[in-house]
Symmetry: C2
């Protein structure tokens, strides 16, 4: 039986929040070199397959609520990183595409993100990292 008086540091929800906060903070720090928030890196990365992605699909993929995504995309359109196209097959939908300018930025951001992953691999270890990834994927799976 789980103990209700266990310290908060033993709760899975807390450990996840803490680890996420820390890793996110580090990534944020790197991406700030290009003045871009983590969410925009995610958006560019998803769009860099060149395909059109609807707002709903994108919101799921980048872990943002719909209205938040709409407003962030507005900014990115202003910065000419992405653009909207109405889906010809379903005119309720908007398809998002990455621009050339967006692709250039995306490359820089990816290399910053890869830097971070390599830094983690060094300090945390190859084995632990891949095991952690495996367990996280499986946790996410089991939650659906």
């Amino acid at each position: 039986m789980a103990k209700s008086n266990a310290p908060i540091t033993e709760h899975l929800a807390y450990l996840l929040a803490q680890a996420n906060r820390e890793i996110n903070r580090q990534l944020e720090l790197r991406l700030s070199k290009e003045g871009v928030p983590v969410e925009q890196w995610r958006i560019l990365k998803v769009l860099s397959d060149g395909d059109g992605h609807s707002m709903g699909e994108l919101a799921d993929a980048v872990l943002l609520n719909h209205p938040t995504l709409t407003k962030m995309i507005d900014r990115m359109v202003s910065d000419a990183l992405v653009y909207r196209v109405q889906d010809p097959n379903d005119r309720r939908k908007v398809l998002m595409f990455i621009s050339d300018r967006g692709k250039v930025l995306s490359k820089k951001l990816n290399s910053l993100a890869v830097d971070q992953e390599e830094h983690i691999l060094e300090s945390y270890g190859d084995k632990s990292t891949s095991e952690l990834k495996r367990l996280l994927e499986s946790l996410i799976d089991s939650s659906n």
Copy 2:
């Protein structure tokens, strides 16, 4: 060498964000029965040792920025869940304490949080859960 064209779903930062979002969403759902946000559960849990905790200490423990914590504590003081006492040894500091009303609420919240953990244990497994916790703790350690 890490590949910069790897899908976002293979990045540790992304997997952590995704898992955290999902687990947090579930916890939020349970705690909403008492109309309390996850952060307030954390605050009450930390304070329920009965000791006085300074704002800075508390902010670290509950993963909130200082100004955000100040404003949340304001609300909790209004709700008579916690109270402030000036630290007699260092008058720059404010010591936070949990009230009797806070203790009562904290117990209910803890049992909701334990429910969730037990639910995770069932669907995700005992072994995986403790292994995941161990790896997360070690990741957090290696990041300091």
